[in-house]
Structure formats: structure tokens, C-alpha cells
Amino acid sequence: MTLKLGRHEFPDDATLMMAIVNRTPDSFYDKGRTWAEDRAFDRVAQVVDEGAEIVDIGGIKAAPGAEIDVAEERRRVVQFVARVRAAHPGLVISVDTWRAEVGRAVCAEGADVLNDAWGGADPALVDAAAEFDAGLVCTHTGSVTPRTRPFRIEYADVVAAAITDTTAYAERAVAAGVDPRGILIDPAHDFGKNTVQSLEVTRRLAEMVATGWPVLVSLSNKDFVGETLDLPVGERLIGTLAATAVCALAGARVYRVHEVVETRQVVDMVASIAGRRPPRRAVRGLA
């Protein structure tokens, strides 16, 4: 399906890198490295240089921690979105928020996508996306409360649940007036899932792709990689890229990542293996 993310359109076969930009002092991977606004701004320039089509700006870490109220979340992201918009007119700006009020404020400053990592916890978020003609990421969390860790969550069929919930969310968004071309579904690895469940979602990602909704995957350095390989944060890139390759083969369209260059190489390589992308330059055996 053709993607239309805010004011930006992408052809059917395009795969997109969504680079994570944290405006947080405490996110699990970078631990506040881009907490200072100028550092976050530099990070945006860097990932644009590296070829990211999308930045995903977040003001609240996913894990539990100090409560960040709406006013503080707004302080962290709204003006920053305006600054990025002005500096990078061609860039797709996504904001990682579950709150409709924040969604409305960032869209007013030029955000193109609302990445609802918490699966519709605020039912009015779809209205914010519709009002500003923004895209929306519909994630599956098993209906957990935002910023909670999964605890003894079980599914009869985790993939069926992810498909049912994300497509229902997508349809609810369409009914609210969100342009269907701007909707992505995301199985949300680690969110409301243990490692075995995240692995199963990875293994069966093609079933999500078969829904026809474009699929976003957010795998980068997550705990399911760490637990699978028994590696701490900081040593999970190779495992992340292996999972990325599997999702790419299944046909995921958008990759939410910390490492843009490495992910792009993996996704392009897999797309070429799958026969969806010609090699960059082919001479071997053909001269």
C-alpha cells in the first residue's frame, strides 16, 4: 500500500528507517545522551545524514519511572518538533506519544505521524491524527497500561491477538477520519509480551503483513533480543539485525531503530534476496 505520512508520500515498495530520537533523560538505550535539546537536534541531523526517512521523537521513556505529566511532555517535545520541522522540511516527523493533547500540539507544529506505542490507551488520539491529517501507528500491547512491564501475560495466540487488536485499532482510526494511507500496524515487540511471545511475533510476522496494512517493527536493542542471546543493552545490535532480517523477509515496511546505517544495509540486502529490490550495481558474471 502507498504510504502517506503527513505531507510525505512513499511508493509501495519503499522500506523506511524511523530513527529514534529521545528527548528523555532516562531511556534504556541512550540513557539521556540526547536529553539536552541541542544534542537531540544534532542526533536528528546525524540520522538524516545516515539516510533515515523518519524521526520518532519521544518525551517519555517506555519503561516505568517518574511520572511525566502532559505539561512536562509538551515541554520536552512540542517546541523541539517545531525546530526540527523548520530545519528539515523533507523529513517525516513522528512523535511517540499516547496522549491526544500532546498529539494535537505536535501536529500543530508540523509532526506528520503519531506513534501510539501504547495501543490506543487514549481513545481520542485518533481524533488528533484525523484533525491534522497525520499518520498513525497502531500498536499491539495486549491492552496493558502505558509504561507498565508485562507480567504473566498469556495469549492463546499472540499473533492472532496482535492482528485482531491492531487492525481493529486501524479501522477505528479510519472511522474517525484518519487517512488509511497513513496508518501502520506494529506488533510491538516486548510491549505486553514476554520474550517467547516476541519471538513468535517475529517468526510469524508475514501473517501481519498479509492483513494488507503496512507493518512497522520496533526491534532495536530490546529485551527480547537481550534475553534470547543473554546480552546486556549495548551488545544487542547483531541480534537486533538478525530479527530485522526476518521481519524484512516477511515484508515489514518501517523499521524503528537506533542504528540507521546498519539496519538500512540489512533491510536492503534482504529486499534484494527476496527479489523486491535489484542489487545496487551488478557486474559479477555479467561482464
Binding site: 529490490r277 535489484p278 545496487r280 551488478a282 557486474v283 558474471g285 561482464a287
Partner: protein
Amino acid sequence: MTRAVLVPSALVLLPEYAGLVDPVPELRSACRAAVAGLVADGPPVVGVLAAPARRDNVARGVASPAGHRIAHHLLEEVGWSGELTEPAAGVPLLVTGNGTACRTEKAPGHLDPRAVGFDAALGAALVTGDVAALRALDARLAEELWCHDVPAFTRLAEVLAPGPPAEVHYDADPFGVQYWVLTWP
């Protein structure tokens, strides 16, 4: 009026093997220009001369000669449609063939010091229309140097009408393979 055109029999010219970036833009544009000139008058038929499919490829199930596919593709690309035939008097002729593939260490057939001399002699024979030299090509040496187009060149010697020397539009070995694009006016 062009009597005949020579382009390489390199698979890199075929769209089914194309990458995102063309590794041979100059070669391709020389091929296109030469082929466009060959059919500028809109002839109903074009003669095609290519070596038969390589035996190893036939064994792998590919019986269609690469040269025929390349000729067909280039003609299609310049907007010509008509009938492809055997070479015949008065019919524009498109020949596919190239020199050796052993000109450098990185060449497909690795470096063979005999390649440069072989190509120099072959190139001169083609450009001057020296049919005696083309007929006398050492087929065995050519095979050893990974030049598989001798059948096309010896047949060319039989059908190339006498005339002035060929114009050389491309003469290079970008991958250690000797390519020419020639037009015989």
C-alpha cells in the same frame, strides 16, 4: 547508411540483470546510439548474428543465445519493431560479440598475457573489415581467453560487405573484458 553494428554480448546489457545503478552507462549509450543509427530508416527486418548459446548454459537449461536476447533488447529499446532474421544481403546487420575476458587480474577469466595481443588483432580485423583475418581466428585460443564469440565473427567474415573501415564508438575493457561498439558505414 549503416551496414552493420557490433555490440558486446555482455549480459550486463540485459534488463533482467539490471541493478539500481548502471555499471556500464557509457557502453550502453554507445550501443543505443549505434543501434538507433542502424534502424534509423525504419527497415522492416534486421539481421542478427550471435554465437550460439554456450554449451554449459544449454546444459543448465538456457538454449537462447545471449546475443540474440541482447540484440532484441537493444532494438526494442530504440523503438524498433520488426522481424529479426538471419544475415542477408541488403539487410541491416546487428552483430553481438566482444574480445577476451582475461585482460586483468580481476577479469572474469583472470589475467592471461595473451589476451591483449589477441584483442588487438581481433579489434583491427573488425575495424578494417579484414575478413581473411576474421576467418583465421584461433577458435581454441579464443576459448582459452574466454572469448566465446568467434562463431559470430567467422560468420561475419562471410557476410560483411566490402566498404570503408568501421567507426569506433566504444573501445575499452572496464572489467577486464574487451568491448567494442562499432558501426560499419
